[in-house]
Assembly symmetry: C2
Homo-oligomer: 485 residues x 2
């Protein structure tokens, strides 16, 4: 599917569509329908389990509105910028780097105004809409401002990343959690960016959801290692190099990456392969350096997945070694000393950030899972991610079958998110569930209710991917569904 097709599918079946659609839609802002909201929650639940709970880290929740001061201290007020150009004739705005890249003119992601202006002049770039002259590039801050209080005198911003809330709460949580490092604070929530040209579905959004984990640690003593985890090769594009398959040992020795960094590359690699079910060749790490690197990072890799509808590898997350940039900045900004002493003298904890764009991952998961086999659409999501875990059908509109089907549905729906349906032919009902990724369909047929049948009190359970059916006793359904049959 291309972007338009995926958007069309997502809208048609109930995943997502532009917000305020009946008013013509909002640019770069989406709503999730009843399937999308479940898929998103399921993604967040597996993310939380895998990265946070399993590692004894903690989830917190920070506000989405932040006062101005911490965002001045963090550098976002002055440096969280895009560079835009305006057509002097039709007054359309463009993000300069995106415009150039779209025209096949290569510029680095972090190129500054001068570099972009030069590229525009050198290539004689005009407005794609009206062929008008373009303005000189100018810096544009991407944060969305809010004014609070009765006279709108309290200036603030919608947070540009959830991460800041973790840094602002670091010291209190460090104290509450008994002054131990490493300490991980995770936040799942909204972040906001005034994108100049939002587009590509859920890729460049003005309102987005992030799942971010900030790990605070002592770089002198933190060397996490796990033999099973390190026993793998990773697709990596090191800075200024070609893509290559590298072992953790090579990454540490040839590319001088710290062990804690490589450990988390492996952890993320495993998450995409084993938890989300993405094929190995579709996952890679793309290292950024020079101007491409975010201003706060010491080591910066994008987590990329090859997404058909986005025509190749696209960023779905990042692994960022932010050093002590954040806590040092907020120590200066707040005049509160955020350094710690855990037995070896005072030092400023370092931060390793695991950052994921939830919406981008949702899009990627649908892109990856969608298959069309002989006109049959099947969304092959991992079972834990599927919006409905199971559907329950009476074979026909027979009252006895309907009553039994409803009883089965009621008995399992509090444990498994379930869907009941009695309309249309059974084949059509199976097809509908295949299309939205429901792993199992339970059908109540005449044998189920026939006391003389050897199959009395059993139902058929159909597998989405193999289309095979098994007979299972109603009493054993919960246990069998839990174990994946």
């Amino acid at each position: 599917m291309n972007v338009e097709e995926l958007l069309g599918y997502a809208k048609k079946v109930g995943f997502f569509w532009p917000a305020a659609e009946i008013y013509g839609g909002a640019s770069g802002i989406f709503d999730y329908g009843h399937l999308g909201a479940r898929l998103k929650r399921n993604f967040e639940a597996v993310w939380l389990d895998y990265f946070v709970d399993s590692n004894d880290y903690n989830l917190i929740e920070g506000s989405t509105i932040l006062p101005e001061k911490p965002l001045i201290a963090s550098g976002h007020a002055s440096r969280f910028n895009d560079i835009l150009v305006e057509c002097t004739k039709c007054h359309t705005y463009y993000r300069a780097d995106v415009l150039l890249n779209d025209l096949g003119i290569n510029v680095a992601e972090g190129a500054n105004s001068e570099e972009l202006g030069k590229a525009i002049r050198d290539n004689n770039v005009k407005c794609p809409k009206c062929n008008g002259q373009l303005s000189e590039p100018r810096v544009f801050n991407m944060m969305i401002a809010v004014a609070l209080g009765p006279d709108n005198g309290e200036k603030g911003y919608l947070r540009p990343e959830t991460a800041q809330s973790a840094y602002l709460n670091f010291f209190r949580e460090f104290t509450l959690l008994r002054k131990k490092l490493p300490m991980g604070l995770a936040i799942i929530g909204k972040a906001y960016r005034n994108e100049i040209s939002p587009r590509q579905g859920l890729y460049r959004m003005r309102e987005l959801t992030q799942a971010e984990l900030q790990i605070f640690f002592d770089p002198k003593s933190w060397n996490p290692y796990d033999e099973a985890l390190f026993n793998r090769k990773l697709n990596v594009v090191p800075y200024m190099h070609e893509q290559q398959l590298l072992s953790p040992k090579q990454l540490m020795e040839q590319f001088s990456l710290p062990q804690f960094y490589v450990y988390h590359m492996c952890l993320i690699d495993k998450f995409y392969k084993e938890v989300l079910g993405i094929p190995a060749e579709k996952i890679r790490f793309y290292e950024k350096g020079g101007n491409d690197k975010a201003f706060y990072n010491k080591v910066h890799m994008d987590i990329e997945v090859n997404v058909e509808s986005w025509n190749g590898f696209k960023e779905v997350g990042g692994l960022h070694y932010r050093g002590d940039y954040d806590l040092t900045s907020h120590t200066k900004g707040s005049s509160q000393d955020l350094s710690v002493d855990i037995g070896n003298g005072k030092f400023m904890p370092n931060v390793l950030e695991l950052s994921f764009g939830v919406d981008r991952n949702i899009w990627m998961l649908i892109d990856n899972a969608y298959t069309n086999e002989e006109g049959r659409s099947v969304l092959k999501l991992q079972h834990k991610l599927a919006p409905y875990a199971v559907a329950v059908f009476p074979l026909q509109k027979d009252q006895q079958l309907i009553d039994t089907a409803k009883a089965v549905y009621e008995s399992i729906k509090r444990k498994f998110h379930a869907f009941y349906d009695e309309t249309a032919s059974i084949g059509k009902r199976y097809a509908r569930m295949d299309e939205i990724g429901t792993p199992y369909c339970i059908t109540i047929d005449f044998d189920t209710v026939n006391k003389d049948s050897k199959d009395y009190s059993t139902v058929t359970v159909r597998d989405r991917d193999t289309r095979e059916q098994k007979r299972v006793a109603i009493a054993d359904l919960p246990a069998n569904l839990l174990s994946g049959l």
Copy 2:
């Protein structure tokens, strides 16, 4: 506890505190720490299970930024107002009704500028800070504006209630969900209000979380009834009446409330009593009429709980029969016909809204659960709400006990949110868990690891509320914890 004491406790143990605390805090904006985030998630989970999943309604997710048009259509741009006065001397702003009520001067919640101005003049009210003259009251819109796009030319607002997202998505979801009524769309998410004087902890907030369910229905045919549910008496303050205990029948016959409305009063009453564990005498419904009633409501009751720290009954939610106000407004505003035909001709569905302030409920739950018995603080939360389901301790710092305790912890932590602790005396560890509401503490002692003991491979499980201890086989722990022992 009073407000200050509850805030102090919440901060000390890890529930919540003002956002950007190290910068002096933001007014009316809070962060949730590692305990608060879990309590909030648990509240949302039981709410979702009880009101949404159990009734086959659907969860969706709407954007927090909305364009201006739908909020003009909904009436919020012109009518979602507070009335403020300013001190002409020290320029402090006050919400006029709150100022008057604080001074013991009774004014209706919905009083207009003229009424409030008259009350201020009649009572000769001056600025409480500097005794200066107060300005005439003026209308102040509580929505928080945002400007999007490169020239900030796209005007929008942070949504003042999650409800609007449900109305905007009504027609698409109605189509996706096979054109059946009643249809329920639930949203859990942030809403924003530029409160003039935010205060009372989590009561009057500028950034808040709502859990709202919008039920779309045909008022001519929807008469939900459940004998067990109707077999109760409700504490109600009918409009212009004293508080009284009324049966559903009395509410319908004497107070002319529609059956679907009374059904949901009963449903909510049951939720507070049975799911959240609030004593019957602490829950009541407070009907609003006249100017007190929100402009979109036909029947409006606040759900109130008697909260010690707030000195009496306070609103934690509302049950609002909004008629066809919302869909009619958006039909006009969007020029999209949102009326439906489900077999008896076209009509505009009506809306019943169940609205809950999540933060207020969190505060109320802590207020209600906190007890201090002989200097022993115990947070008697319902088990499903507790931040940690269980704690695991080695009795002493003995390596064999520690290893076994860690193994037990690892084996249960993916099923139950668990806490491991080996520091301090066992009594102190129990006390810490009591203080934050952990229902069970599992202790590994020397019998657990002694092959010759009759208690080999068993642990003690201590109950938070009774302080009684039971010996339970390690293998049986998950099943026993699930069943509440």
